[in-house]
Each structure stands twice: as structure tokens, then as C-alpha cells.
């Protein structure tokens, strides 16, 4: 059983006037065999958080637990974790087999057992025909799989991944997402996965933890986070195109900021929200309509078969009933 518990974790780099609060009082519980996504824009502290679980950074305050053990002062190799880096961090002078074997070699596993384990891990990731090659002779996707094989070879309790797909092209990224989910299903490890890509977060995670400026914004299943964003930041960060956020007073009360997802913003003649069409994007399966309402940019997701206005036309929008999100304009927090 390897749940990971972060208890009031903070990390401050430098000190005095130059101090940077990379992670600010984050508390998070990750269940055994969960696929937890740490999601946020660059600089939000998600990688720092992951590195503290790995033991590559020490928390300035707070405790990290893996299983029942507090690991703040435990060396990375004693934490029963494996990490996959964004750059893959493969040893360029070693063959694929030697790369995969390396963590076992460090632990003093015998040569024959090492080789057998490496083959087993390579087979899990479809690398059995590349064992004798060097990383330089492999494609980006293959290198990425070598990095994964090196991580699973010693059955870690916790798998840490720092944006492992960001160096792959779009198609490969899609395929590898599915492979990672499949891998997670087949092995009994807990996954903690850092990304800034909300598509990865939505498609892979059993839960998503959204971070901004070092603070935890919301933790929940992808659907919860999408349907009931806890803050205006989460509302805008998750979903493509992002949620329309109307300034306070534009819709209803003066003291409430209203958010409407593009798919819930519909063209309704005589609707309460008046705007002028600025752009119409045809994406095949859907049409995105961009409009301007007194300086506020609105975007609506429409069916390609529906009636479409032209650029420059005045239009009126209404929101689907029950699909409004309300936020406090000061704190950005959700109002029920």
C-alpha cells in the first residue's frame, strides 16, 4: 500500500527580498494506485511539489509521507519511488538494456536476474527488439518508453512523472496517453503525474490537483473539476476554449462574477447578453463563435448545422439553465 500524503508543504527558494514561494501550504492525499495529476501553468509549483516527493528538493515546511512513513529525511533511493523526467534523462553511452538495468545494478542485483528483469520491463513497453541500441538511435517515443521501462523495472510503489509527454509530437502524445493509462491499470503502483496540459489531465487522471502560484486550487475527478470549478482560475484553466468569465454586474448581481462554458452559451434571439460577432472558426465537428460584448470577449461552441451569423452581425446569447457558475470577484472562489 503506497498512499502519498503531503501535509502543509511549503517550499521557498532563496530568502529575504528575493524569496520565491514556489509551493505554499499544500495539503494533498493521494490514494494507493491512484493516478493523480498535478496540473497548472508553468511556474505554479507542480514540478517542485513532485521533486519534494522524489527527495530532490527538501520542503521548507511540512511533511511528506509515503505509506505510513515520514520521508522528509529519507534519501530518494530509500523512498521506493521511480521518476521519469521530461528530458527522459537516459544515459546516452549505455544501451537500452543497460539503461533499464541501471537501477537494479545500483541495488546490487545479479547480472542474470538484472537482464531478465530488463527484458520483462522492455516487453511491457514493446521495446524487446531495441535492447542493444543506444538512445541516440531511437525515436522520441521509443526513448520515452525506455525511460518508463527504467522506472517500472524495479516495481516502485510510487511512479513520479514530470511532463513525460511534452517532447513528443501531437499524434504520439495521444497514443502514449492511452499506453500510460493502460500501464497504470496493469501495475500496482501509485502514479503522480505533472503536466500543464489539461487534455492529459482530463484523459488520464483518476483525480486532478490544480495548482496556481504555489497554492492548491482544487482536487477532484476530472469531471468534478470541469463541472464545478472551485475557483475562477480553475474555471478558466480547464476547458478549451476556456470558460467565459463575465465581469461582476454584467449578468445578475453586482457582487458576483458569472462563468459560462462555451457549450452552454447559446444564440437566443432576444437573449440577455448582447454582442457583435468578431470571428467564426469552423473546426469540422463544431463551430466556435467569438463575439465582443462591450469589451468582454465571449466564445460559444455551436453545432456546424445550426444557423450561423456573419462577422459583424449583432447577436444575443443566453445560458443554458442551471449551467451558470458564480464566483466571488475578490477571492475568485466559487459561490454556490
Amino acid at each position: 500500500m503506497a498512499q502519498v500524503r503531503l501535509d502543509h508543504i511549503s517550499k521557498t527558494f532563496a530568502s529575504g527580498d528575493e524569496a520565491v514561494h514556489a509551493v505554499d501550504d499544500v495539503t494533498l492525499e493521494i490514494e494507493h494506485h491512484e493516478f493523480m495529476i498535478l496540473l497548472g501553468p508553468s511556474g505554479c509549483g507542480k514540478s517542485t511539489l513532485l521533486r519534494m516527493v522524489a527527495g530532490l528538493e527538501d520542503p521548507t515546511a511540512g511533511d511528506v509521507f509515503i505509506g505510513d512513513r515520514r520521508v522528509n529525511d529519507v534519501a530518494p533511493k530509500e523512498r521506493d519511488i521511480a521518476m521519469v523526467f521530461q528530458s527522459y534523462a537516459l544515459y546516452p553511452h549505455k544501451t537500452v538494456a543497460a539503461n533499464i538495468e541501471f537501477p537494479l545494478k545500483v541495488r546490487g542485483v545479479g547480472r542474470a536476474e538484472r537482464a531478465a528483469e530488463a527484458v520483462r520491463a522492455a516487453e511491457v513497453l514493446g521495446l524487446e527488439h531495441h535492447l542493444k541500441r543506444k538512445p541516440g538511435q531511437l525515436s522520441g517515443g521509443q526513448r520515452q518508453r525506455v525511460a518508463l521501462a527504467r522506472a517500472i523495472v524495479r516495481n516502485p510503489a510510487v511512479f513520479l512523472m514530470d511532463e513525460p509527454l511534452s517532447n513528443l509530437d501531437a499524434k504520439l502524445r495521444g497514443d502514449t496517453r492511452a499506453e500510460l493509462v493502460d500501464l497504470h491499470r496493469r501495475i500496482d503502483s501509485t502514479f503522480i503525474y505533472v503536466t500543464h496540459d489539461q487534455v492529459e489531465a482530463m484523459t488520464m487522471g483518476s483525480r486532478v490537483a490544480v495548482l496556481n502560484e504555489g497554492r492548491l486550487q482544487q482536487v477532484g475527478t476530472p469531471q468534478e473539476v470541469y463541472d464545478r470549478p472551485a475557483t475562477a482560475f480553475v474555471a478558466q484553466f480547464i476547458g478549451t476554449p476556456p470558460m467565459n468569465l463575465l465581469p461582476a454586474g454584467m449578468w445578475g448581481s453586482e457582487t458576483v462574477q458569472v462563468g459560462i462554458r462555451p457549450e452552454h452559451l447559446r444564440l437566443v434571439p432576444g437573449g440577455p447578453l448582447h454582442a457583435v460577432v468578431r470571428q467564426v472558426e469552423h473546426l469540422g465537428h463544431e463551430v466556435l463563435l467569438f463575439a465582443d460584448a462591450n469589451g468582454t470577449r465571449l466564445v460559444s461552441r455551436l453545432d456546424p448545422g445550426s444557423f450561423l451569423p456573419e462577422v459583424g452581425d449583432p447577436v444575443a446569447f443566453d445560458a443554458e439553465p442551471g449551467r451558470l457558475h458564480r464566483f466571488d470577484p475578490e477571492s475568485g472562489e466559487r459561490i454556490e
Binding site: 534519501a75 521518476m83 523526467f85 534523462a89 537501477p103 545500483v106
Partner: protein
């Protein structure tokens, strides 16, 4: 194709400066030296006859050249491994993100800005049997420092020259290896660290392989420099102590003031060409032998 032909005049103009420089200062002297190497001259050095290619063999097998060759190889064996190990060691020590490490980097690399003449003078003073610091401090353990002095004893003179030479080359090795260390991706260290590799294993599994191409380069340069050592010898020992000629390297044999062949243009040229061939051969062997074990690229 047409386009290429049109570019020819400009290409010639652009190449001309380098071609002229290489022709005048490299190709011509080399060809001239090879030609002069054929000459056998009388004692006064004024009357010479062309003795053909066989002259090279005569020079190569001569007692003087064989002796100088031995001294040069010994100097190489003393300076290259020690210089490499010390340079890499200092570079690894200084490759830490510590406050004030820049001061040490500056100190370690300072010898690169020190001329051979200055370095030799420093060591000459340090090793002086009467007033030198080393003689004062260590002659209790090593009487040779005082009598006759490290540079004056036929058994230790070459070692003393080697000290000076290692020291003078240390800055070069340090700078090049430091640059190589800084180009090793930090991820590799972190990955090895997470996998449980300690300092030693990180050094042997990450650092050494990643800087291997640089080490090969430094080895070739240090070897070539060792074979070409002249300034230290001219200033510290003058090829002596005599009559053993303990520090007469090939370069000193070629143009040293006290060299037995100093007036003999033909023999000097032949020795110079032989030194060139020797350096080339050693560099080739190093590249051939080590290249297979060196990983270039990502």
C-alpha cells in the same frame, strides 16, 4: 552546377587569406624541413651534401636522438596522466554551486594565463637549493632539495621539470574540463540519484562517460605539448644536468643552446620532422584506440 561555377571566383577570393597563411607558415616550412632533413653537413655546418631519405634513419638511430626520445617519452609519461587526473579532480571539486566557488575557479585556471617563462622562473626560485622555499621546508625529508638541488641532480631534474610543466598546463585542463562538466545535463545526475547511485557511481556512470570526448581531446593536447616541451627546459636546466643530459628532450636537442647538434641544419631538420611524425602517430593511436570507447552526441 552553373551556379556553382559562378561562385568559383568569389570562393577563391574568400579562401585566399587562409591559403596564403597556411602556405607560408605551415606548408612551406614543413616541405623545407623535410628537404633539409636530407642534408649531411660537416662539423662547421657550412658544407652540406644531400644524403637522401636514408639520412632520417641515421638520425633516428643515432645515440643523441635515441636518448632525447627516451627523455621526451619519460616526460610525457610523467606529465600527461598526472596533469589529467589533477585537472579533472580540481574541475570536479570546483563544479559545485557554492558561495565563493568563483574565487577557486579563478585560482585554478590562472596558470593558463601564465607564460612558460614566468612559470619556469617561479619554479626556478621555489626549487633553488640555497634560497628556495622547498629546500627550506622539506630538505629534512628530501636532502636532494638542498644538495645538489632538484634541478641539479641527474636523477630528479626531469621530475622537477615535469612539476613545472604539470602546473603550467593545469589551468588549461581545468578550464576545458569545467566547461565539459557544465554541459552535462543535470537531469542525468538527478535520475541516477533517484535510482540510488552514490557519488562514486554517479562519477563513473554519468560524469566520466559524458566528458569522455573532452578527456580524449585534452589527452591529445597534453601529449603533444609534452613532446614539444622546450621553454621549461631551456630556462630551468638547459638540457642538463650534464654529462647525463637528463633533460635533453627532442625539442631541446633541435634548438637548445647547449645542444650537440646546434650548428647542424640537416640533423636538426631531420630530428624536427621525426618529432612531427612521432606526435602525429601518437595522436592517431589515441584517437583510434580511445574513439571506440568515447560516446559523442546526445
Amino acid at each position: 552546377m552553373k551556379r556553382r561555377l559562378r561562385d568559383v571566383p568569389w570562393a577563391v577570393v574568400m579562401l585566399l587569406p587562409s591559403v596564403v597563411l597556411i602556405a607560408v607558415w605551415t606548408v612551406y616550412p614543413l616541405v623545407k624541413a623535410v628537404q633539409n632533413g636530407h642534408l649531411r653537413c660537416d662539423v662547421t655546418g657550412t658544407k652540406c651534401i644531400d644524403a637522401g631519405w636514408g639520412r632520417y634513419w641515421d638520425v633516428f638511430t643515432s645515440t643523441e636522438f635515441q636518448h632525447a626520445l627516451g627523455v621526451s617519452l619519460k616526460l610525457m609519461a610523467l606529465t600527461v596522466p598526472a596533469g589529467l587526473v589533477l585537472g579533472v579532480g580540481l574541475a570536479v571539486l570546483a563544479d559545485k554551486h557554492l558561495r565563493g566557488i568563483g574565487v577557486f575557479r579563478t585560482i585554478f585556471s590562472s596558470t593558463v594565463a601564465t607564460s612558460v617563462a614566468v612559470a619556469s622562473l617561479v619554479w626556478f626560485v621555489l626549487l633553488q637549493p640555497q634560497i628556495g622555499v622547498f629546500a627550506d621546508l622539506f630538505s629534512g625529508w628530501f636532502p636532494v632539495l638542498k644538495n645538489p638541488g632538484l634541478l641539479n641532480d641527474p636523477g630528479t631534474a626531469l621530475l622537477a621539470v615535469a612539476f613545472s610543466s604539470i602546473w603550467a598546463n593545469l589551468g588549461f585542463t581545468f578550464i576545458i574540463v569545467t566547461a565539459a562538466l557544465q554541459s552535462v545535463p543535470r537531469d542525468l545526475y538527478e535520475s541516477a540519484f533517484v535510482d540510488g547511485a552514490g557519488n562514486v557511481r554517479r562519477f563513473t556512470n554519468v560524469t566520466l562517460p559524458m566528458i569522455a570526448p573532452t578527456l580524449l581531446f585534452v589527452t591529445v593536447v597534453l601529449t603533444t605539448r609534452a613532446l614539444q616541451t622546450y621553454g621549461e627546459i631551456a630556462l630551468l636546466t638547459g638540457g642538463g644536468p650534464n654529462p647525463e643530459k637528463s633533460t635533453t628532450t627532442i625539442p631541446y636537442l633541435i634548438y637548445g643552446r647547449n645542444s650537440i647538434i646546434s650548428g647542424d641544419l640537416g640533423t636538426k631538420s631531420a630530428a624536427a620532422v621525426l618529432l612531427f611524425v612521432l606526435s602525429l602517430a601518437l595522436a592517431l593511436v589515441q584517437f583510434r584506440g580511445l574513439d571506440k570507447r568515447v560516446h559523442y552526441g546526445r
